[in-house]
Symmetry: C2
Subunit: 435 residues, 2 copies
Amino acid sequence: MLLVPDAVELILSETEALPAQRLTFQAALHHTLAAPVAAREPVPGFRASIKDGYAVLSSDGPGEYEVAFEAFAGAAPRALQPGTVAYIGTGGPLPEGADAVVQIEDTAFLGADAGGAKRVRIIKQVSPGYDVRQVGSDMAQGETVLTAGQHVGAAEVGILATVGATEVEVHRKPKVAVLSTGDEVCEPGAPTLQLGQIRDANRAMLLAAAAATGAGVADLGIARDSAATVEAALDRAIAEGADVLLTTGGVSMGDKDFIKPLLERRGTVYFGKVKMKPGKPLTFAKVPVPEQNRSLLVFGLPGNPVSSLVTFHLAVVPCLRKMEGWEEPRLRRLHVRTAMPIKMDPERPEYHRAVATWARPEGAAPGAVCGELVAASTGGQISSRLLSLRSANVLLEIPQASGMLPAGTLVSALLIGDLSAMPVPEVPAITTLPS
Amino acid sequence: MLLVPDAVELILSETEALPAQRLTFQAALHHTLAAPVAAREPVPGFRASIKDGYAVLSSDGPGEYEVAFEAFAGAAPRALQPGTVAYIGTGGPLPEGADAVVQIEDTAFLGADAGGAKRVRIIKQVSPGYDVRQVGSDMAQGETVLTAGQHVGAAEVGILATVGATEVEVHRKPKVAVLSTGDEVCEPGAPTLQLGQIRDANRAMLLAAAAATGAGVADLGIARDSAATVEAALDRAIAEGADVLLTTGGVSMGDKDFIKPLLERRGTVYFGKVKMKPGKPLTFAKVPVPEQNRSLLVFGLPGNPVSSLVTFHLAVVPCLRKMEGWEEPRLRRLHVRTAMPIKMDPERPEYHRAVATWARPEGAAPGAVCGELVAASTGGQISSRLLSLRSANVLLEIPQASGMLPAGTLVSALLIGDLSAMPVPEVPAITTLPS
Ligand SMILES: [Mg+2]
Ligand SMILES: [Mg+2]
């Protein structure tokens, strides 16, 4: 049976980045660039002062000078005559004739003379170019400031604005359709449940998980256990322009399974099981949409909510990332120390839900400035217990083995959540230098 | 002069969580709960099979049995008579009279007898309750499944659906208005720049940064350097219902500063400078809005794009997090090893932009399964060079000191980006057990 890493490689080999589209630089936030961006003009475009102070001709040297004028930001300054200086603000354009800036702290204002002319004492000798940003020193004209494959965050939006790149090529984001299946599945808001019925957690959860990756979503509702209903949902996903269809349920061995036979008939099923805990039943298929010259990727996820979200992270997230243009779409792996003993499974590798946080290692010397990622299990890992995913930000890769993994073991872990919200132990800032 | 940690504490002490609002559980994604959520019914609400197999009366023991019926999901099953078994699927309701499940792998189907009745051999002796999820074993009725302060991600949306909590109390998210100031500042799309003019990077960048935290945003445009224009923008921020106003520019010592005097006249200025690099000029103020019985928090950020985004992360992000209900709004700190030497500043602690990634420590034994966060500087840290923020996910806390910090030094770092997209070195999975 396939292992997760093999399944991921197979999925990625069948996934292509979506075509580029042109967006404004503001709308490009959270997209991935499909083409590099170059600076069309040098930044700064003029010699700019780094400090508040006086623009000088450096060869004039220290001494008392007349303040000929003030070079305020946004106005083109007059030329500076030798033997005079000009007041200049941070970012202001250096007047012609000046070649350096003396910061205000290295000057003494002397007041105005009888004729009203302001005078200042320049205390420091500066060399040419001192405290001046030269033309193109931040970005040279023509320099590639962002490469294809770059994720556009706030800083990158700022870089685009700086170079006047108000439209950019980014990969289109995928659209993900989500379908729940099963006669037992009810809307979450059902007033009461009959014997055997459950509220549909999977659909809203997977729609949220897909939306959290930045994908567009389409809610296909709940399909009853009939071949016709499920096929109608598949056709609806295609009609809505979905790139990916997620179904849950209908994949257990003993289930009334209408999904896999349908996918085999309409397309290619690459696998139907993955050797993993939770979530062994996991189908991946591609359904051609010939009239649109494209394909729909279909993931048949298990019906258990835990299994469906864990397989979403492991199998679907890399696929969505590749579609939206990530050059490295795989989940990031890091190493964490387990905070408690973890029971292993002798039959399958387990993806154990845990909350990782930065902490001082147990037994660290007082004042020692070391730290490491420590992972607390979220408790009982039975695949029906959705509370095991509450606040989880990593999946621990627990080897297939008998017995217990002791607390304090270093294990590898896949990042499924943002560490920006990890629980905060008392981690000291490092304020002293190494000796 | 204030240090950053003191400034943050002062800001947080003047910031309150915004009031709760009621949202659907789907719309609650990425919000913070303002009230706990309890399970209104037990989960599961019935005795549910953990496996595909046969529902049995465990005291019947191994032997050949008639398959009396099939207990499919979604239909209330008949009662089971002793001496018979019923086929059951994963998640299906255990028939009355049965007390355990024998998985299909521990049975042998014998086919139908002459009368058409299906028969199966039960091979394994099971105890009462075997492979059965008892009522309330995942969530007890009345159990608090999510606490106030919980961030709602996809898993939590699933938990809310599971317990039928289709409406929840969450904190309102803040609205952030952003204003650029300066006669030299042009729209990013300006066809050409005159001497001394710059394209406005700050506004789009801060709007994106605020939106990335989940805040609502309002674009106040560019205010020219006049007291009246800046005051009009402040009034517009209030009229638009902003909770926070960010201005950039107008805070340098030698700048035409219309922001601070205005804030002093209209409200309380808590500080105007913070001892940090980049971004020393940083104003924090509160302007009362008496007719609405609330206040507007104002951050006067520096005009340099790097300084404005760094101070946004350090000072504004914790404020926005507290407003939206985070119990621990401070940036997360961790420890990273520097990948290259870093020049220190003898006058100010520096927040050095870097890209952290998980990597094997230099000199690690081949096959050793250790790893650590390694941070590569983004290069020249001059505060005009916005490329120093490209892809940055941490701010290194570089102590105020002379000289160079050698490569390989452990420094503390504040997380400003999602590590889910960190560069991926070859980090091995740990597949072997500790010996
Ligand atoms: Mg089903
Ligand atoms: Mg200005």
